[in-house]
Symmetry: C2
C-alpha cells in the first residue's frame, strides 16, 4: 500500500526557491577574480540564475547536457551550480589543478557541451582547445571590460549573456534521480573517474550535513567554503547554505592566510571548510600577526587527516572546534564526522584530542562496515581493522561511463581505505589499503607514523612507506622533508617517535629528502616512492 | 540522464539500524502504565522490535496491513512504531480521547487487523468490541502478571508474544513511498479523516525537524515528547530521536505537573514537546513549588497558538526558549517554526516576543502561500491575509479512502487557516477560515481577541465568535469562563482590551458562561456557539 503524501521531487531549484522566499536578504559575498568584493542577496542570485537558465536555453542546452566549469569559488560559480542543475543540465566541475592531459581527458570523457572558465584559467585552456572536441562554446566568467586577449576563438562573455536575458524562468520539474552534477576523482592511479550526483543525493546530503550532529548549519551561519567548488562540490556546502538561507562567503582565487583572515574578520565568518594545508597557511599567518579568529566557531577539516597539532592549535589559540570529517568524491563526500557534541566539549582536552583525531561517526543515511579480505565483517571494537565499506543514498553506485565492478560489491562501495570502528561508532582511518605496511603478519599504519613525525617542529613533510625486509617481509621507512634551516638526525627522529607509537612500529630507517612526489592535487605518490626505495633495507 | 548514486530507499527500519549501530547505548526511558520507570538502550529496543516483527509475522500480519494502537507514550508504543512500520505494515495510532463512536468508526474505516491497547484503555474498548468487525486480535500492552480481567475474549499479552520470539529478523526492503503510519484528524466537523504517511515523508520530515533552525535535535538531546504518540506521531519526535541517537523520555500516562517535573529533573530533559494546556499545568506546578526547570533548553509548543504570557513565563522564570510551531495532521506536522535563532536570541525581549508569537518560518521542503478567495496569491508583507496553502514532500495529497478534492488544489493543500506572511518569511495564523469575523468588509481575528482576553488574570477560558449585526453584517462577541472565585464585569473586560487590539475589534458584548463546548480533543466547538448566539446582538 502506498502512502498518500505529495509526490514532490527533491530538486536543486527548490533549494534556491526556498532561500529566495524565506531568507531573501541573506547575503552571498564573493572575492572576485577581477579583484574587489561582490555582494548580493539570495533574491539577486535567484534572478541571475534564472537569467543564466534563459541564456543556456538560447545556447541550445538541454536536460542532461554536461556543462563544464573551470572556476574558483565565486558567486558566478554558485550561479552555475544552481542555474545549470536547476534547468536539468549537469554541472561538471573540472579541477584546474589536474595535469593538462587529465583536464582534456575529463572534458572529452564527459562530453561537455559548454565550458565556463574563470579569467585565471584561460591561459591553461589555450593549448588544450584543439583537443576539446565536444565543446560548442567557451564562456569567460567576467564582464565585457575584463574579457581577455586570447588565442581561443569566439569566447563568450558571462555578464553579456546574462544581461541579454529576462529573469523570468520557471524551473522545470523532473525526477529527483536525474543527474545534477559531475565530479571526477583525482586518484593516484589511472584516469580520473566520474561520479554522477543526482538531485536526490545532493539534497539528502545537504540535509544531512546541516544536522547539529554533523556540521550544524543554519540561517545563523556565515559559511566560508575554502574547499574548492571543483572538489566534491565544496563538500556540498553551497547546497547546504541555500537549504538553510545561511550567509555564504566565497574566497575567489585567494586562499592565502592574509586574504582568508581579512574575509573572516570583515564578514564575521562562523564556519569555514577546507583541507589541512589551507589551515596551516592561515594558522601560521595568525601566529605571525598575533591575532585570533574571533567570529569562527568551528572549522571543518577533510580531504586528509587533521594532525593533532592542528586540532590543538585551533582549540587552544583560537577557541575553535575542529570538526574532523572523512569522505570521498564517491560519497558526496560526507561519510563520517567528529562533531562538536556536548560529550566531546565536556571532555578534558587530553581525552578529547585522541577522539577528535578519529574521523568520527556516520550521520543517518550512511552505513559503514569493515571486512577482512574474504568479505567477512569485523568487530566494532576499535581494534580490529579491515577494508572500509560504505553505503547510503549519497554514495555512488557506479562510475560515469566506466566499469569498475571491483569497487561496488553487493550494494557497498569499497573505499580503498583500511579502518577501525569503535563501540561508540567512531571510525578511524588506519591507512589507504595499498599503503598499509604488513610487517610479520601485523599491520602498521603509514598515516599514523607520518602524523607522529609531523609533530616534530623541524619536519615540513613526512612520508612512510613499506619496503622489502628479509625477516619481516615489509618494514616501514620514514622519508622527511626538513623545514628550511632546521637540523635533525635519524637518531633524533627515532627518539622523538619512541613512546608515541608502538615500539615495533618505529621505522627501520629515516631518510632526509629535498622533496616528495605528488599528484596534481597534492596527494603523495607513494607508489613511485615504493618503487624507488624497494630494496633500501636489503641493500644496507 | 539519471544520476549514478545508490538507490537506497528511506525506510523507518533504517533509522533503528542507525541508532543501534552508532548510538547503541543511548537510552529510552519510559514511565510505565503499570507504574515505575522502564529504562533500556537502542540496542535493547532494536532486539524487541525484531521480536515484535517475528510475532506479527506469526499472527499473519502482512505488508500494508493496518495495526491499530490505543496507547500512551511508552517504550512499547515506540516498539510498535518501529516494528510495525519496519516490517512494512502500517502503524495506525488511534486517539483514545475521541468519542467512542469515532474510535469504532476509525478502526473500521482503517480496517485494522490487530489492535494493541494499553491497560488504561481496555475498559473503553469493552463496549465497542462488537462493532469492531475487522479486528482479528487484541493485544494488551503489558506482561502476564498485569493482564486484566475483561469481557473481551481471547486477549493476547504483549510481553508473552515477544518472549516467544527470536530477535533475529531481517527488515525487508521496499519502496519508500510505501505507507508507514496512519493518523486520523480530529476535525470539528464530520467524520475524522485519515492521513496516510509514507516512509519517505516520515523520514524527510524527521530530517527536517532535527535541523538547527527547526527543533535542533542531536545525539546531545534528551527529548521528552509529551505530545501524544496518537497525535500526529508525537510530531515525528520518536523518528527524529532515532535518526540522531538522542535519548528519549516517555511520560506514559502521567502528564500532570508533578510527574512531568520529576521526569524532567531525574532524566535531565533538554527538549520537551507539547500543547499549551500541558505547559499551563507544569508552569503552575513549578510556581507552586517555587522551582525552575534547569536542564530544559527549549520547549516546542504546537497544536494551538502559544499565548505570549507562556512565552514570557518560560523565558523569564525558567530561561527556556519557547519554540512556537505550526502544523496539522495533514502536514506531518511541521509547517512553520519560530526557532531559537541567533537573531531571535539577540533581540530585546520586548521586540522578540511579538515575533515569537508568530508561527514562524517554513523549513526547507515546505512551501507556503496565501491566496484570496479567487486563488490569487497575496503579498508577503505581513499585512495582507488570506487562505493559507501549503505543499511539500510531507504534506498529504489526499485523505485515506475519502474524496475531499476541495482541500487539495493544484498540488497545494488548503489548510483551512487564514494567515499573513511577512517579508522575513514569518507566517502568522490569523484564524481558522470559518472562525474569522467579517465586520463591514474587514476581517477580525477571533484567535487574537481570545489571546488578548486570556491575558486577564480572572479569565480561565475565552472564546470569540462572529454573530449577525444589522449594520456591519457580523460583529465579535466574547464568551468568558471566569476562574474560580474571580469577579469581572463586561466593562472591566472592554477596558482591559482597549489598547491591546484595534478599537473597531473590541467585542460588542462580553458574555460570562459556566463552560464552553469542546470536541473530544479539546478544541472549541465554535459552530455550536455560533448557532446558539446567532441573534444575540439582534435581540438586544
Amino acid at each position: 500500500m502506498q502512502g498518500q503524501m505529495m509526490n514532490r521531487p527533491l530538486l536543486i531549484s527548490g533549494l534556491l526557491e526556498y532561500a529566495e522566499q524565506v531568507y531573501p536578504n541573506s547575503e552571498i559575498v564573493s572575492r572576485q577574480v577581477e579583484g574587489g568584493i561582490h555582494r548580493y542577496t539570495y533574491t539577486d542570485a535567484g534572478k541571475r540564475c534564472r537569467q543564466l537558465a534563459n541564456a543556456l536555453t538560447k545556447l541550445g542546452v538541454e536536460q542532461g547536457d554536461r556543462i563544464g566549469t573551470l572556476a574558483w569559488n565565486t558567486n558566478r560559480h554558485y550561479e552555475l551550480y544552481m542555474g545549470v542543475s536547476g534547468m536539468g543540465a549537469i554541472t561538471h566541475t573540472v579541477n584546474p589543478r589536474l595535469f593538462p592531459e587529465q583536464i582534456s581527458y575529463i572534458i572529452n570523457h564527459a562530453e561537455d557541451r559548454l565550458l565556463f572558465v574563470d579569467l585565471t584559467f584561460v591561459p591553461l585552456l589555450e593549448p588544450l582547445a584543439d583537443q576539446l572536441t565536444t565543446l560548442q562554446g567557451i564562456v569567460v566568467m567576467t564582464d565585457r571590460a575584463h574579457m581577455p586577449e586570447s588565442s581561443l576563438e569566439g569566447l563568450l562573455c558571462y555578464e553579456e549573456l546574462l544581461d541579454a536575458e529576462s529573469d523570468d524562468y520557471d524551473w522545470p520539474t523532473f525526477s529527483e534521480e536525474s543527474a545534477a552534477a559531475l565530479c571526477y576523482t583525482s586518484g593516484t592511479t589511472g584516469n580520473p573517474k566520474g561520479v554522477l550526483y543526482s538531485h536526490r543525493s545532493t539534497i539528502l546530503h545537504a540535509q544531512a550535513i546541516c544536522q547539529p550532529q554533523a556540521i550544524n548549519i543554519s540561517c545563523d551561519s556565515t559559511i566560508l567554503p575554502v574547499v574548492p567548488m571543483f572538489h566534491v562540490c565544496a563538500w556540498g556546502s553551497p547546497y547546504a547554505a541555500t537549504l538553510t538561507g545561511a550567509k555564504m562567503v566565497f574566497p575567489g582565487p585567494q586562499m592565502d592566510g592574509p586574504s582568508l583572515h581579512e574575509l573572516i574578520e570583515t564578514e564575521k565568518v562562523t564556519l569555514a571548510l577546507g583541507v589541512p594545508t589551507i589551515w596551516m597557511g592561515l594558522l601560521a599567518y595568525m601566529d605571525e600577526i598575533g591575532k585570533t579568529l574571533d567570529s569562527v566557531e568551528s572549522v571543518v577539516v577533510g580531504g586528509a587527516a587533521a594532525p593533532v597539532s592542528m586540532i590543538q592549535k585551533f582549540q587552544e589559540t583560537h577557541d575553535i572546534f575542529l570538526i574532523h570529517a572523512w569522505g570521498m568524491t564517491e560519497t558526496s563526500p560526507l561519510g563520517t564526522i567528529s562533531s562538536c557534541s556536548r560529550e566531546m566539549k565536556s571532555m578534558p582536552l587530553a581525552e578529547r584530542y585522541p577522539l577528535q583525531q578519529k574521523q568520527g561517526r556516520p550521520i543517518y543515511g550512511v552505513s559503514l562496515k569493515i571486512v577482512d579480505d574474504d568479505g567477512v565483517e569485523l568487530a566494532r571494537d576499535g581494534v580490529a581493522f579491515g577494508r572500509l565499506l560504505i553505503t547510503g543514498p549519497w554514495v555512488a553506485e557506479s562510475y560515469f561511463r566506466e566499469d569498475h565492478p571491483e569497487n561496488f560489491i553487493d550494494g557497498w562501495f569499497d573505499t580503498g581505505d583500511v579502518a577501525t570502528i569503535d563501540p561508540q561508532g567512531y571510525m578511524q582511518i588506519v591507512d589507504r589499503r595499498k599503503d598499509v605496511i604488513k610487517s610479520g603478519g601485523e599491520w602498521i599504519s603509514s598515516i599514523e607514523l607520518e602524523n607522529a613525525a609531523l609533530g616534530h617542529p623541524a619536519v615540513a613533510e613526512s612520508c612512510v612507506i613499506g619496503v622489502a625486509h628479509k625477516k619481516w617481509d615489509e618494514r616501514p621507512i620514514l622519508l622527511i622533508v626538513k623545514k628550511l634551516g632546521e637540523a635533525i638526525s635519524q637518531d633524533d627522529m627515532i627518539e622523538f617517535l619512541t613512546g608515541k607509537v608502538a615500539k615495533w612500529w618505529l621505522p627501520d630507517a629515516v631518510v632526509f629528502v629535498d622533496e616528495l612526489p605528488h599528484t596534481a592535487t597534492g596527494k603523495l605518490l607513494k607508489m613511485t616512492l615504493r618503487e624507488e626505495y624497494q630494496s633500501y633495507l636489503l641493500d644496507r
